[in-house]
């Protein structure tokens, strides 16, 4: 595959934080490529530099070395059209669900009336049509996170950056949200960079998994997950799935022993 067949190109990212107690190497020679419409999972424990990686990928931080190309363009400043979903929903509690989804629009000074229909469309996509005028405090954690996803999608972003978006939810809701997200992805086919430290989640959702190891953060291993789509509850019981999971477990273990 030629270089420009990839939608996102990350080349030799290295980042050093200068602190009072000395330099901290957060990322070391991180390189990877993501295809358009791919569900790309970054799997790694805490300390693998993922916050740094997120800030660099969204243009909020300039790396000490290396660069990022999105759709052929070098990332040099905060990307307006990246949709970020964090571990906590980060909604404005004084605004309604609809107003929260429109935050990127009002923040960028774009005309709200152009996006009203899109809000309704997204509410339907995430299953919250009846909650348009409710306040965040009236929603459960999973529902708030769905609003956060809708907000990330309002500007039709180049790609979605998701940092352990379901990590704060209980196990059952997390499962529900996993399949919800896959449904949304199958409809919209966004390019998704999904960060997690759940091996099961990674194998279930991903087209491709990249394993990172911590201190400093570096790429340990990458593998294509060639399981049939759509992925279902049955997928998790198949032999192939369990082999992928076992394989990923082993790869993560090795990095801990280093």
């Amino acid at each position: 595959m030629k270089e420009n067949d990839f939608y996102i190109n990350v080349n030799d990212l290295t980042h050093i934080y200068e602190t009072r107690t000395g330099d901290v190497l957060a990322l070391e020679d991180v390189s990877f490529k993501v295809k358009k419409g791919e569900f790309f999972v970054i799997l790694g424990p805490s300390g693998c530099g993922k916050s740094t990686l997120i800030k660099i990928l969204s243009g909020l931080l300039t790396p000490t070395k290396g660069d990022v190309f999105v759709n052929g363009q070098r990332v040099v400043e905060p990307l307006k059209k990246v949709g970020i979903v964090f571990q906590s929903p980060i909604l404005l509690k004084w605004s309604t669900v609809a107003e929260n989804i429109l935050l990127p629009v009002t923040a960028l000074g774009l005309p709200v009336k152009d996006y009203i229909d899109k809000v309704d469309e997204l509410l339907e996509l995430v299953g919250l049509q009846d909650f348009k005028d409710k306040y965040p405090r009236e929603l459960s954690g999973g529902m708030q996170q769905r609003v956060s996803i809708a907000r990330a999608l309002i500007l039709e972003p180049d790609f979605l950056l998701m940092d352990e978006p379901f990590g704060a939810l209980d196990a059952i809701t997390r499962d529900v949200m996993n399949f919800e997200l896959l449904k949304i992805w199958e409809k919209k086919n966004q390019t998704i960079l999904f960060i997690t430290h759940s091996i099961d989640e990674a194998a279930l959702m991903a087209d491709r998994v990249m394993v990172m190891s911590p201190r400093p953060g570096r790429v340990e291993y990458s593998v294509d997950i060639e399981l049939e789509r759509p992925r279902t509850l049955e997928t998790r019981t198949t032999e192939a799935f369990r082999r992928y999971v076992a394989d990923l477990y082993k790869k993560l273990d090795i990095t801990h022993m280093k």
């Binding site: 905060p78 307006k80 970020i84 964090f86 906590s88 004084w94 923040a107 960028l108 405090r137």
Partner: protein, 266 residues
């Protein structure tokens, strides 16, 4: 039926009954022990005194209330402006904050006489004292509310290239509204105290002035009556703030004034 009534209103009924009980006990004690009036007047004495004083109250009550409110409102306006200034500019922060701390640390009782020497005796100086007392909690709480924002939210604002001003108006200020009201509630009680202190030091009218005069003349019923009226005013002002807070935050779960149905412990 009575049981339901009790459950619903017991949060208000219990203190009310306790209070009435204490009043009754107090009244009985005075009737039985007959202490001298200047030492311990009875509740009835105090009510009598209030009635006797009649129209005389008006000028004093009006003075204290207006001085308190003027100082309080000034504290709100300048408190909010100062907080916004501190958050907007690091230079302003470095310049203002030490002065604020000094203002807070110096006891106003010690400071007040100086103020009267500098600004002259009169209502305006009392308003200044009130202002100084109520100002600090408002600034502190407001500043907290303006800055206590999740880092991820600030990340989002940077992604959307939001200007500093936009972040202030769309994010910081709405975020600070609960803290604003915390500050105001505290400041309202302090404002009343400030006005009274001001009157103690340099006034010839007002409820605080009355307390001093009454004490000097051993007119304990009058002193206690004045204190009672001051307390009532303070209470009303405080709960007025609580009401306004409820009105301004439709997105918050309001704290129930009366207890709802008894909830089982899971």
């Amino acid at each position: 039926m009575i049981k339901d009534f009790w459950y619903r209103y017991k949060q208000v009924l219990i203190p009310l009954i306790t209070f009435i009980g204490l009043l009754v006990f107090w009244q009985m004690y005075v009737i039985v022990k007959q202490p001298p009036r200047f030492l311990l007047p009875s509740p009835v004495d105090i009510i009598e005194t209030i009635r006797e004083f009649g129209n005389g109250w008006f000028s004093h009550v009006e003075f204290t209330i207006s001085a308190t409110l003027l100082g309080f409102i000034a504290a709100i306006v300048f408190g909010v402006l100062a907080a916004i200034g501190i958050v907007w500019s690091k230079t302003l922060d470095a310049a203002i904050t030490p002065i604020l701390v000094v203002l807070q640390v110096v006891p106003k009782v010690a400071f007040a006489p100086l103020l009267f020497i500098w600004f002259g005796i009169g209502k305006h100086t009392i308003v200044i004292v009130t202002f100084l007392v109520a100002f600090f909690p408002i600034v502190i709480n407001m500043t907290l509310g303006l800055t206590q924002i999740e880092p991820e939210l600030l990340m989002l604002t940077r992604c959307y290239h939001m200007s500093k001003f936009k972040v202030l108006t769309k994010i910081r200020i709405p975020n600070s509204i609960p803290n604003f009201f915390s500050g105001i509630k505290v400041a309202s009680t302090l404002a009343v105290i400030g006005a009274i202190i001001g009157e103690f030091v340099g006034s010839n009218v007002g409820l605080g002035y009355l307390v001093i005069i009454a004490n000097n003349n051993l007119n304990t019923p009058l002193a206690m009556a004045s204190i009672l009226i001051i307390s009532i005013f303070g209470l009303i002002l405080y709960y007025l703030m609580v009401l306004i807070e409820r009105f301004c935050m439709p997105w918050e779960e309001p704290e129930p004034l009366f207890q709802k149905k008894e909830e089982p412990i899971c």
